[in-house]
């Protein structure tokens, strides 16, 4: 067997890309856990096991070599991205359902890694948000409540028990709260986007910048998305009477803005692939998310914004394909 060129040792691999994403998520997960307790790590473990299980079954059913493809970490990445968006004390079966929709429906039924038109994590999230709106908006407030311990967390997630002092879980995200309140959002850390959330957001920013630095993601996507949100927020601050919208920084640091910019919109499979297209694609997500945030019925709109732009990505690609060398 004659071997032709190219001969070289490749320095990129799908599994490495995925492992880098997991690594970049880690600081945010640690800080998240520090603020809100064991909910997130428990959910992550649950979702990881479930995702790998679904992945293995689907690969087997599709007749693909399980060992080769399960080692690409793509299912774990989808599961982690999904869980990070969910309230940490969600009942276990809801998490399982979301992972099922993400891995089985959104990913494998559309042809598996590389072929899914919709972001699997956002499909799982959207399914829960539409089906269980009450549970999906029960976030742990940091003030006035004791963060549940490990045992308590397990009891809530798996036992369905409602621990007495958590009875009145906050049903409003900070965004929801500010949207309907008349008080101005104070511009200091800790109260800007809801206690704890700015620090977590900054961790996403750090992890995301590292991914951009290592070329794991295309910097155009987060930059375009954040610019769009920022410009929209400045316009809102200038043009709106709502005191909650007066500080543009609020929109960048609260809700899922940074997380979506660096970890959700950058999923290469479902994003636009051309350079010009990525500017447009991410700007579209930022714009739609802000429209939903400000005028829509949901407190935050990144999931739907991402899914809508996923739908537009092939057309954006087609329209923004570069002019080949030597062509007019």
């Amino acid at each position: 067997m004659v071997r032709h060129a190219p001969v070289y040792a490749p320095d990129a691999a799908v599994s490495m890309t995925m492992r880098r994403v997991l690594l970049a998520l880690s600081p945010g997960i640690v800080v998240y856990t520090g603020f809100f307790g064991w909910g997130l790590p428990v959910q992550l473990a649950l979702a990881t096991v479930a995702a790998l299980g679904f992945e293995a079954v689907m690969l087997k059913l599709r007749g693909r070599p399980v060992a080769v493809h399960i080692g690409d970490y793509s299912a774990v990445v989808a599961a982690w991205l999904l869980v990070i968006c969910l309230p940490p004390l969600l009942p276990w079966w809801m998490t399982l359902l979301a992972v099922f929709f993400a891995v089985v429906i959104a990913k494998h039924l559309y042809g598996g890694l590389g072929y899914n038109p919709f972001n699997p994590a956002m499909v799982g999230y959207a399914v829960l948000l539409v089906s269980f709106p009450r549970e999906m908006t029960q976030w742990i407030p940091l003030e006035g409540y004791v963060i549940p311990g490990f045992g308590e967390t397990l009891a809530v997630i798996f036992g369905g028990s409602v621990v007495s002092h958590l009875d009145g879980l906050s049903t409003a995200t900070p965004l929801d709260h500010f949207k309907h309140s008349s008080s101005a959002a104070p511009a200091i850390m800790g109260t800007l986007a809801g206690k704890g959330w700015e620090w977590i957001s900054l961790c996403w920013l750090v992890g995301g910048l590292w991914l951009a630095y290592t070329r794991t993601l295309d910097w155009r996507i987060p930059l375009s998305l954040l610019l769009t949100v920022g410009l929209f927020a400045v316009g809102l601050a200038l043009g709106s009477n709502n005191p909650a919208w007066q500080n543009p920084l609020f929109h960048l640091l609260s809700g899922g803005t940074l997380f979506a910019a660096f970890f959700i919109a950058t999923d290469p499979v479902t994003a636009s692939t051309t350079q010009a297209g990525r500017w447009l694609y991410a700007a579209g997500i930022g714009l739609l998310a802000m429209v939903i945030r400000v005028w829509g019925g949901y407190p935050d709109g990144f999931a739907f914004a991402v899914l809508l732009m996923n739908l537009s990505a092939p057309m954006i690609d087609y329209l923004t394909s570069p002019r080949a060398y030597g062509h007019k």
């Binding site: 004659v2 071997r3 060129a5 001969v7 040792a9 490749p10 080949a324 060398y325």
Partner: protein
């Protein structure tokens, strides 16, 4: 601002491997094998026969047709015959070769002066230069092997403002241009003058890459010393800066139109080795009988650039360079990105053989199996032809070659392999494109064939129809004539009868 390639990739060129030892000549071998097809175009036609005695530099096969190149005897020798022998070709098939037996004591001959003052050489008329280049059998020595005289001719018919001499060793592991420019810069500069004169080019640029500092410093010195009008352009090392179309864009800022030629944008590119060969042919009247070959890679004992007579077996080059190491596992003609795998080392050095790369398993040890495309877009970012590699891949996999060709410019792929190198899914993208281009050509040929068959069929049917018509016509005429004759006879008979009746009356 420095001109540079903005796409492509930064790769380790391994420039320090084959450049530690000076260029050396491989001793004359007892048997030399010269394929009749060592260039793009029509194969050369032998003008000597079995048993003929030939002397060094004698024409042994002449160019046939316009796009072709002749062959010359590398040493004093006796023609053994014209035989089918293994040749460096992707098909792995044998090709017709002139086989020579070197005479006892045949040698390289005296080496021409290595140091020349490029400004002092006499420069003949453009047509004379072109004719001498044609008679010397010179082809593009960068690997493309297009007959140089034909290229000069096309440059004469349209104005050329920029002559570019390509001194970038285009792929990793290849060092023959670097060693040439280090050891014989005067020859290259003299060749630049001759080519520039023949094309009446306004300016001449010598392009090299910055990963060979010793060569760059030497060239700057030589150009300053002889006050040469050649402009040295030192490009940041980036693959594939040495690709013709890309180099033209870097130097002139112009893009060669798709399916067009460099002269369409007033540019002409010649390899540095070709320029030196032009100098040898025009000034010393030495035809192309040898070339520099870079013998490199982790699998060779003493990597170096050698000068080898055309027709010398590759095995001899390997032996001269210290032989293969124990873990050597393959031979590649050309570079690590685009080279052609060789099944055996029993093939001859040809005009286009710029490099022999001896590979080891370590060179590609991390290569895993192919994974699904995750649409990361890295391939599009590095593509020097600005194609959409992903779209092409999915179209080719789905068999939609027409769309790949018409909407996504498949034919403009230069097969540089940058997409392969950056693909995290390790998809052999360039291989898919090469396959698809071949398939499109095949389909085109089949279409032409089908059309010809249809025309033949239609013509035949028409001919049969015509013959039938003619036959019927003839028959009809005959019948009419017969009928007319019958009628006439009947009439005559009746008249006769009437007459006889009248007579009876």
């Amino acid at each position: 601002m420095t001109a540079m390639l903005t796409s492509g990739i930064v790769v380790n060129g391994y420039r320090d491997m084959a450049t530690r030892l000076p260029v050396a000549r491989v001793p004359v071998c007892s048997e030399l094998v010269l394929p009749l097809q060592q260039h793009i175009g029509t194969p050369a036609e032998p003008v000597v026969g079995s048993g003929d005695r030939v002397v060094r530099g004698q024409l042994i096969a002449r160019a046939r047709g316009f796009v072709s190149a002749g062959l010359h005897a590398p040493v004093n020798a006796v023609v053994l015959g014209i035989e089918c022998r293994p040749v460096p070709h992707p098909s792995g098939l044998n090709g017709l070769c002139l086989v020579l037996a070197a005479e006892d004591g045949a040698d390289w001959g005296s080496a021409g002066p290595e140091v020349v003052d490029p400004n002092s050489i006499a420069i003949p008329e453009p047509d004379i230069i072109r004719m001498m280049v044609r008679q010397a059998g010179i082809v593009g020595l960068g690997g493309a092997t297009f007959p140089t005289s034909v290229k000069i001719k096309s440059g004469m018919s349209q104005p050329v403002d920029t002559l570019i001499i390509n001194g970038c060793d285009c792929e990793p592991w290849i060092s023959c241009d670097e060693m040439l420019l280090r050891e014989r810069p005067g020859q290259v500069l003299a060749g630049c003058h001759l080519l520039r004169q023949s094309l009446a080019a306004d300016r001449c640029v010598l392009a090299v890459e910055d990963d060979a500092p010793e060569m760059v410093a030497g060239l700057q010195q030589v150009i300053a010393d002889c006050n040469s009008p050649v402009r040295l352009e030192v490009l940041p090392a980036r693959y594939p800066s040495g690709s013709e179309k890309q180099l033209i864009h870097i130097i002139t800022g112009k893009e060669v139109p798709s399916q067009g030629l460099p002269v369409d944008v007033g540019a002409a590119v010649y390899n540095a080795g070709t320029a030196a060969a032009v100098y040898q042919a025009v000034v010393h009247e030495v035809p192309l009988i040898s070339r520099l070959v870079s013998v490199s890679g982790p699998g060779i004992g003493r990597p170096r650039v050698v000068e080898a007579l055309l027709g010398t077996p590759v095995s001899e080059l390997l032996r001269f360079c210290g032989g293969r190491t124990a873990d050597a596992n393959g031979l590649i003609m050309g570079g690590a990105m685009m080279g052609l795998g060789l099944a055996s080392d029993e093939i001859p050095v040809t005009k286009g053989m710029n490099s022999i790369l001896v590979t080891t398993p370590a060179m590609s040890q991390d290569a895993q199996g192919e994974m699904p495309c995750i649409r990361c877009g890295e391939c599009a970012r590095v593509c020097p032809a600005r194609l959409a590699p992903q779209q092409l891949l999915s179209l080719i996999r789905n068999g939609d070659l027409e769309q790949a060709q018409q909407r996504w410019a498949l034919e403009d792929c230069i097969e540089c392999g940058c997409c392969n190198a950056v693909c995290p899914s390790h998809i052999p993208l360039a291989g898919y494109y090469r396959y698809a281009k071949g398939e499109i050509r095949k389909q085109g040929k089949a279409r032409v064939k089908a059309q010809q068959a249809r025309q033949r069929y239609e013509f035949r049917m028409e001919r049969i129809e015509r013959a039938k018509r003619e036959r019927e016509e003839k028959l009809r005429k005959k019948k009419e004539a017969l009928q007319a004759a019958n009628k006439a006879r009947a009439r005559a008979a009746m008249a006769e009868e009437a007459r006889s009746f009248e007579d009876e009356m």
